[in-house]
């Protein structure tokens, strides 16, 4: 008998680091030196703060390069770093560094942010708490999934797989444990970064209803 699935939820307290960048060189320097929780926050913030939007705005670095500095090409390059590929945030940091270094090496014009529009590096403290929802089987899982907050879905899909260096997402692992290989495979194929959290909830409900 597999362990029941206990739904957890999480919330972030944003920490200010007192560090800012005025141009792409300083942005790169910041990306190199900030705590890894800052890389996490700046590449994932939009997922929660703008989770109703699809397509979502890009990560904070890309948004700043494009919308504040007007460096469209750089912004696009940073926006297209495929966050889902990176289960280790240090690898994601290295990729962002490589993209920015590549552009810097080409030389050319570097925009400066006007005063008041600098990039401010922040990080976060994540507080994780259990919810009252526990599922022993697929039917209970579906029932709970309909009721939990999007923060809980976020925790089990994004937080678990990336920040906590978990292998896959929690839902995939649990259904694997139940022997639902087909469902687990379908769940692991989801690209949660290109869908709203409510859209993700609906998609998971559909998959579980179909395969469990």
């Amino acid at each position: 008998m597999s362990e029941p699935f206990h739904f957890y939820t999480q919330a972030h307290l944003v920490r200010l680091l007192g560090m800012k960048a005025k141009n792409p060189v300083e942005l790169l320097e910041g990306i190199r030196t900030v705590p890894v929780s800052s890389i996490y926050y700046h590449t994932h913030r939009f997922l929660q703060q703008h989770h109703y939007l699809s397509p979502e705005p890009p990560n904070d670095f890309a948004y700043w390069l494009t919308s504040i500095l007007g460096m469209q090409e750089w912004g696009e390059a940073v926006a297209s770093v495929d966050v889902i590929q990176y289960r280790d945030l240090e690898h994601l940091r290295s990729r962002l560094e490589a993209v920015l270094s590549g552009y810097l090496a080409k030389g050319g014009y570097l925009a400066q942010a006007p005063e008041g529009h600098e990039f401010h590096f922040v990080s976060c403290v994540t507080v994780i708490t259990p919810t009252p929802y526990i599922a022993h089987d697929a039917a209970q899982f579906l029932e709970a999934l309909r009721r939990v907050s999007i923060n809980s879905i976020y925790f089990h899909v994004f937080e678990a797989r990336l920040r906590l260096k978990n292998n896959g997402n929690d839902f995939t692992l649990w259904f694997q444990g139940l022997g639902k290989e087909k469902l687990a495979a379908e769940l692991s194929r989801l690209d949660p970064y290109t869908i709203t959290l409510e859209g993700l909830r609906k998609k998971i409900i559909k998959l579980v209803s179909r395969y469990a």
Partner: protein, 407 residues
């Protein structure tokens, strides 16, 4: 004061459930807020709504107010202005007197919470008792700290650095400090008079009172008559747009009648309007929250063309009413608007006029911005998020590390 349950239809049951879970982790901890005024001003307004709600969640929250005489408040007023960038004219005697009043209050306070949550500079010196009392101490800065006077900030930093944590409202206000700093933005209360839903007939009657024509677009800016809100610039924008789109402009706000600058700005605004019947200048008395609410709800587009801004919560108010907003990218406004996703950020009169024409001519696009804006405010700038952040802050004081697991 609203019951917590009244927020459920607005933010969802699961959001409220999670606040109860977080609050449950503060059982047995007394949270003591301390500021310098019980009425008037933004801090008192926030605390008067926040404390009853925290208590409904089961948090043992309290609010104490320090005492000071006229000289003390003259000094703190100067400090306040200096933190906003004005030149300080404070003497060593002033700083000494400021500390004396703080020490007297520290001695007279009848209780100290497990968390002592000190708001703004006035009571900052209470921290001198930390060594003797222990407890967790947090300093909450509600003001714009972007260009503080060096003398005042140097004096204050010696005290700020003794706290366990500091809290600022926007990233630009953070500084290099020796203690952790949290970002906690202000919020609006969706159930307050300024933001609650209004019956259509009430909105109609208010518009009728101000002779506004509901069959033509209404462009509104709600703000004090203050140079920093650039009301004359808004009229210039209106004139650029009016050539192509038949619209009305509403400039509505209050201001103290004994504020000579406010009156001067009002006169300049009237002169700029040049008796255009489609420019409505409304000098509203205090407690016009329902009228402001109705004007925002009836607007086709809301502007906030400020030259400088603290956080700019009027933007959140308009977005909450699903209005498309065009606002200057200053102060806390870029936190509230993601450009072209949940509103428009501009840098000039010409840019504002360009986007205003676009939104008036493309109502579907404008509606999408408004709808996204409302969701952004729902998720990030309502009082329930503010409560969540405070709960997380208090919890974080009793735990180490970036990831905190609670049972």
């Amino acid at each position: 004061m609203p019951d917590i349950a009244e927020y459920i239809p607005i933010v969802g049951q699961s959001t409220i459930d999670e606040l109860y879970i977080l609050a449950g982790n503060l059982k047995g901890k007394m949270i003591q807020n301390i500021n310098s005024t019980a009425v008037g001003g933004g801090v008192a307004e926030i605390l008067s709504r926040m404390i009853p709600l925290l208590r409904q969640f089961g948090v043992d929250a309290h609010w104490d107010v320090i005492k000071g005489n006229e000289r003390f408040f003259e000094i703190t007023k100067k400090m306040h202005n200096a933190l906003h960038g004005a030149r300080a004219t404070l003497t060593d005697d002033d700083f000494e007197f400021f500390l004396q009043v703080n020490r007297q209050n520290a001695a007279e306070l009848e209780r100290y919470g497990d968390v002592v949550f000190v708001h703004d500079p006035q009571p900052i010196g209470l921290i001198e008792r930390k060594e003797e009392l222990g407890r967790k101490w947090v300093w909450r800065c509600h003001i714009d700290f972007t260009h503080p006077d060096p003398q005042v900030i140097q004096f204050l930093e010696a005290y700020i650095n003794q706290y366990d944590s500091a809290v600022f409202s926007a990233p630009a206000f953070s500084r290099k400090l020796n203690i952790p700093q949290a970002l906690i933005s202000p919020s609006i209360d969706p159930l307050s008079d300024k933001n609650k839903d209004l019956p259509p007939e009430l909105i109609d009657s208010i518009l009728e009172r101000y002779n506004l024509d509901r069959t033509r677009p209404i462009v509104t800016q709600i703000s004090r008559f203050d140079y920093l809100k650039d009301p004359v610039g808004v009229i210039e924008v209106y004139k650029m747009v009016k050539k192509n789109v038949d619209c009305q402009l509403v400039l509505a706000g209050g201001g103290a009648t004994d504020d000579p600058e406010g009156m001067q700005v009002l006169e300049e605004v009237k002169a700029a309007a040049a008796e255009d019947p489609d420019v409505h200048i409304l000098f509203l008395p205090p407690s016009s929250d329902i009228e402001i609410n109705a004007l925002q709800r009836a607007s086709t587009v809301v502007l906030q063309k400020s030259l400088r801004e603290g956080f700019g919560l009027t933007v959140a108010e308009a977005l909450w009413k699903e209005r498309p907003v065009i606002a200057s990218a200053v102060g806390g406004i870029p936190l509230q608007i993601a450009h072209k996703y949940s509103g428009i950020l501009t840098y000039s009169k010409e840019g504002t006029a360009h986007f205003l024409k676009q939104l008036l001519n493309e109502p579907k696009y404008a509606a999408r911005l408004g709808a996204n804006g409302r969701e952004h405010i729902r998720n990030n700038y309502l009082i329930t998020r503010h409560i969540r952040d405070y709960l997380l802050l208090f919890i974080s004081l009793f735990h180490e590390g970036d990831i905190i697991y609670l049972n």
